[in-house]
């Protein structure tokens, strides 16, 4: 017998193995594979690495990762769906608690009250932030949440058309299309006003009909601007019997009006900013919340935790609810196939929001607005740059257009790297009509010095 004892496999020690085999009555573990047809048994060893010690693994991975330049090493102004925000130490401490980290989905509520209560608190805080009544305990990310929401509204309304703004993250738009197509849902894009970047209401009125299941807008939009006509858009949707979906960045909701106050029916968004690192874009945290409406709740995908009591009614406790919507009960009639979600990212969000509280979240939003405004002021003074291209209020992200300087975003970004700066996301392929435009992101983690050195570098490059 091969001696392959491994620290992660206690019974790999030969003596233990032999004792267990003796009890079962086999001489070789191979006997347990006797029913596998011989033609499928691997005869040759797979091309996989040899076993490394923990030290070697650490050294190897660290060396590989040292080839990367992190966003703090080389100051980055990248956002577009994954944003740099400070993660407080307490958040990191809690999400590494073994009891939470190494648990499965809380199928046995009595031994999983910790996770269940935290997820209930997460849902509750998302409701307070968005001014909704019910939230699920996470989707994979904003993009897939949008895809699921389109399907949800189509089921609720029994209609097959969704209206979305033309200014939308292309990855979100692609995901929406992929999710919608098999359900026979068609996606129509609503134009924007070229001056302000706001939704073109005339175009909305033209496209909306009694086939429209839902109208979707984002606040702040993909290009960082605040959509101000939300009340009118919501009214338009409801007048046609459609649902009103709003996509949000939750970190804006300390300063921006919550969607519940302008009659949104469903709110989705990206929760990564709430206590989760960027991690090369994953995991993210899909937010989904809705009004207290039985039709909506019944069609909502994902796990929902509820507050209940013990059977003897002596004590409050928590458990998964409304499971008859889910795949393990409903199978092909389920509202979605989702089961594993992003629970631990929701834990991070709950701890984060508890730490910040209403004041902290306001101050954070305020800091982001100031940083963004300052960056826009500073950069728009540079000759050849237009920042931003739309006349609107911006939160956290804004556009810079380089057309007057006669350079491409690609060229600019390449030169910025030499200044140890990572420029904004190149939009020239996604939105050709915007010319050579990039999407820049500034958060509370960008200091005045960071923004100033970006301005200096751009000035140097352009002169």
């Amino acid at each position: 017998m091969k001696n392959r004892d491994h620290p992660y496999i206690p019974n790999s020690v030969a003596r233990t193995k032999e004792e267990m085999m003796r009890q079962i009555g086999i001489k070789d573990i191979d006997e347990l594979y006797a029913d596998v047809p011989d033609k499928y048994r691997l005869k040759k060893p797979l091309r996989l690495p040899e076993t490394l010690s923990e030290f070697e693994v650490k050294k190897h991975v660290e060396e590989l990762l040292s080839k990367d330049k992190s966003c703090s090493e080389k100051r980055a102004f990248l956002g577009a769906g994954c944003w740099p925000h400070y993660v407080p130490a307490v958040v990191k401490e809690i999400v590494q608690r073994s009891e939470l980290l190494t648990a499965y989905t809380p199928y046995q509520p009595e031994i999983s009250q910790g996770m269940l209560q935290i997820l209930f608190e997460y849902q509750s805080m998302i409701c307070e932030l968005t001014d909704m009544d019910v939230a699920n305990c996470s989707m994979y990310d904003w993009a897939s949440a949008l895809g699921e929401t389109a399907r949800m509204t189509a089921r609720v309304k029994n209609r097959k058309e969704i209206l979305v703004p033309q200014i939308i993250h292309p990855e979100r738009a692609s995901t929406l299309k992929v999710y919608s197509e098999p359900a026979g849902i068609s996606i129509k894009q609503v134009a924007y006003d070229v001056e302000s970047g706001q939704l073109n209401l005339a175009d909305l009125r033209q496209k909306i009909s009694d086939q429209t299941a839902a109208v979707y807008v984002e606040n702040q939009s993909y290009l960082g601007l605040v959509e101000e006509q939300v009340t009118e858009i919501g009214r338009e949707a409801h007048a046609h019997g459609a649902l009103f979906i709003v996509g949000i960045d939750p970190i804006s909701l300390g300063v921006l009006k919550p969607p519940g106050e302008y009659d949104a029916d469903i709110v989705i968004g990206e929760g990564q900013p709430l206590g989760n690192a960027m991690n090369f874009g994953g995991p993210l945290l899909g937010i989904m919340a809705c009004r207290e409406d039985t039709a909506l709740i019944r069609q909502m995908p994902g796990r929902i935790i509820g507050l209940t009591t013990t059977q003897d009614n002596s004590k409050n406790g928590f458990c998964m609810t409304m499971q008859t919507r889910e795949q393990h009960i409903r199978r092909e009639k389920a509202t979605s196939n989702i089961c594993s979600n992003e629970a631990l990212c929701a834990v991070a969000a709950a701890v984060y929001l508890s730490l910040l509280g209403p004041e902290g979240l306001y101050e954070l939003g305020e800091a982001i607005v100031h940083k963004t405004t300052y960056a826009i002021q500073k950069l728009s003074k540079i000759e050849g740059l237009t920042a931003p291209i739309f006349k609107a209020s911006h939160f956290k992200e804004f556009t810079i257009n380089f057309d007057n300087a006669n350079v491409t975003v690609k060229e600019i970004n390449k030169k910025l790297l030499e200044h140890n700066i990572q420029g904004g996301k190149d939009l020239s392929k996604e939105f050709p009509e915007l010319g050579q435009t990039a999407l820049y992101c500034t958060t509370e983690t960008h200091s005045k010095a960071d923004i100033d050195s970006l301005a200096n570098a751009l000035e140097e490059i352009l002169t």
Binding site: K257, G282, P358
Partner: protein
Amino acid sequence: MFKQATWNEKVIFDLGASGRRGHIPPKSEAEIMQSTGKMDKLIPAKMFRTKKPRLPELSEVEVMRHYLRLSEMNFGVDSGFYPLGSCTMKYNPKIDEQLASLPSFADIHPYQDQSDIQGILEILYRLERWLAEITGTYEVCLHPAAGAHGELLGTLLMRIFHDQNGECKKRTEVIVPDSAHGTNPASAAMAGFNVVVVPSDDDGCISLGALKAAVSERTAGLMLTNPNTLGVFEKNIDEIAGIVHEAGGLLYYDGANLNPLLCKVRPGDMGFDIVHINIHKTFSTPHGGGGPGAGPVGVSEKLAKFLPVPRIAFEEGQYQLDYNRPDSIGKIKSFYGNAAVLLKAYAYILSMGREGLEEVAEIAVLNANYLLHKLKNVKGLILPYDNAKPRKHECVLSAKPLKNDTGVSALNVAKRLLDYGFHAPTVYFPLIVEEALMIEPTESFEKEELDRFADAVQEICREAYANPERVLSAPQNVSISRLDEVKASHPRTMALSWRMYVKKKSQGVL
């Protein structure tokens, strides 16, 4: 005796005091404030939030204590034996957590210039190659965030494949066995297919006769778990693959049960065209109380061109994100998958190596059969579906005799096991076993722990015959006793958020 912490911890909205705060975000510099002016000038009045969100107000100290106490009322793999069938709850190596929290990874943005992300791209590229090697597939896509997400991608690939062959309108059916995970039919339905269920034979394997009768020119594919959810290897896989392929369908491998096959058998070799892998199961990344996981999908050559963009390519000595895939289905989520989870899997494969992975498979199977050996003759339990046949990674016992004799159900046994300091097995699944107890020990637990578990099950069954009330009133040693799950889901009494609870409480409903 086991005793879980019981803190009677209030919901956080009932803690703290007005004005308290747990964190001070960085402030803007004075020069910035001077230059930008007041908030009311920067955000239009009609979009400004005037009513602050009712978030908790606690000091950092209280926040830490609250969540620490809650974590103590939770049970993970590090707490003890966790034989949750089909979930492969194995040890999550701590070094992997450390590596994933390095700033040189955590602080990387997905849209950085490719010259600055060569390290992480190399890691993901190699991981793709290793997973393709392990599954015997041609190309692997790391994007799906979970097993079910991988299934959705897989069934969408079936759809686009048939569509390209001009058969999408015709091929409307996906076949699943009656022992399938609930996600299989749910995923197939999401991708727009009708679901056809075929029964299992007495030996626990899919019925070949029924399969033959079920396939037709409408068949888009078959979704199969092998070993299946009974822990039984589908020995007729050769014929199954033949029947499905001959009918023009694709064969989908649900990778939830891949652990016992590592370095032993490869789904691709068995004829599977599409394979998903549950990284958070087979590759030891923590499940985080429900996620994040990762559900990479491997495919045969003919399907590779349909995979989501971008693909990771290695050209001219550089790792690159390749968007130039005109046949791609598009995106199933933002960016490139749950990179933090995938990085941990990369480290895990290195820690195990080829031989270690084979050992994983063997010990997982040995442990399952060892437990089965100790449990199958316990009074009150039986092993349905060929009780002489070895199982692979898990075994499914039925507590039907126990229920009939004593009134103690599989659920009661599960709840009583919690009192002994074990997580319960999966219960009432697969659906084809009455009073099912689905036990998957994995390779991660030592013989003594398996013995303690077997003793506990035996003791509980004895209790059921001698003093059923004792079992029926379980659990007593965990944070809380049995919960009213009916009240929790009833439209009148359900409280799905704190505001909903407060409202219903004030209305006297709760």
